[in-house]
Symmetry: C2
Subunit: 248 residues, 2 copies
């Protein structure tokens, strides 16, 4: 039977999601918990590789098992073996042809920037920071140019092994509550560092270094040097992944 877990974690203390020898990762901790629960070695496949320091409210983790623990009880059972900064929120029994990446319809990320005179230390691990006053209206006007299917090569870190750099962005919006600016983006999928580079480009728009109407040119240039800088990982949270054949 195929099980899909929905997993939330604070990325502060992990070297990202993906298992790598010599570094503690979320995947490793989750596999250890599942192996302890099932008393059998379990490996999982994730829906998204999140980087060191990136947070997550809805990572998908797929594994196979023959043991029948009811799906509604599974989160409690797995959480008993997990550290406090990793929490399973939901479990689904999925079809055999379910794929943790190819069955994805869309993903939603949020990037947070604190814009204030002084940094709030309670938000240090969860926001980028700038004391330069950002022009939110300009940032909002820039959003619409990202929407749609584009070649986002200018917004992809070098070293990516993606076969194509074409992706579709369905929504991109900006909210401001007190001194926290939240950039929320939903898309078909994202290239390596793509959300952090979009956030960095919007930051440059907010600073007046890039005009909103320049975004189309930057996309069309396919030139990474034209976009903004890659913002720090701790401002980023993978909020949600939607899948085919699963009603959430």
């Amino acid at each position: 039977m195929n099980i899909l877990l929905i997993v939330a974690y604070d990325g502060t203390n992990y070297y990202g999601w993906q298992r790598q020898s010599g570094f503690v990762t979320v995947q490793q901790r989750l596999e250890e918990a599942l192996s302890a629960l099932y008393k059998k070695e379990i490996t999982v496949r994730g829906s998204s590789r999140t980087d060191t320091g990136v947070h997550c409210m809805g990572q998908g983790a797929l594994y196979k098992t023959e043991q029948n623990i009811p799906a509604e009880r599974l989160p409690y059972a797995v959480n008993a073996f997990l550290p406090d900064d990793i929490v399973v929120n939901k479990a689904y029994i999925v079809d055999d042809d379910f794929h943790p990446q190819y069955s994805v319809i869309d993903k939603t990320y949020e990037y947070k920037i604190q814009n204030a005179d002084f940094r709030n230390p309670l938000l240090y691990n969860y926001t980028a920071f700038t004391h330069y006053k950002l022009d939110i209206e300009k940032m909002r006007r820039a959003c619409k140019y990202f929407i749609g299917e584009h070649d986002f090569k200018a917004f992809c870190a070098s070293g990516s092994d993606a076969k194509t750099t074409v992706r579709t962005i369905y929504d991109l919006s900006i909210e401001k509550v007190n001194d926290i600016i939240s950039i929320r983006v939903r898309g078909s999928g994202f290239l390596y560092n793509m959300v952090r580079i979009i956030a960095g480009t919007l930051l440059y728009v907010g600073l007046g270094k890039i005009m909103p109407q320049e975004i189309t040119d930057i996309i069309n240039s396919r030139d990474r040097a034209r976009a903004g800088k890659t913002l720090v990982p701790n401002g980023l949270t993978l909020l949600e992944v939607n899948y085919e054949k699963i009603d959430r």
Copy 2:
């Protein structure tokens, strides 16, 4: 000249505010930063002893110096020597008779509880948690019984050396945003663990273990065993301290 710094910190990685040998505290880190800045040993006196894991947006820290760094530049100068989880937001030059505790008019604390099926790991260091559904309306009705001048001995941890257990609570209110319940309390001063015990008592009210109208009896009993349990420190933040003779 007497300087009052307003200091924010994330208490997660410290053994509280107060300097103690063998443990890293916020006071120690601040004194190290000031001593490095002034190239002379500086000691500070704080307005509140916050416990291990308790956070702060507005601790007051008073010290003397003969060196004249302009108050508006001081936060930037001190922050350059502080770790990321401690931030000075403001500096005031205060009168010679200013006292970090006796000049206090009131203090405001916030206690946060996440009330949901599963814990949000991103809020782990900043909230208490319960999956039992809390009755917010009952908790709100209980608040008014705390307001006023009372002997709060029932809400004081043993081991306190306070001369009197009489304190005045000016405001106590509860807000709920999504699954986060915020208890905010402003008072003349607070006994050891008092806010965490008030929060624990309100939690019991929300669970139906204590009725709102029982609060007066519990206060009058002066019996610690009648009040709720002391909630975890990480849900607590000292938001603000108001002082005589300082306009904020």
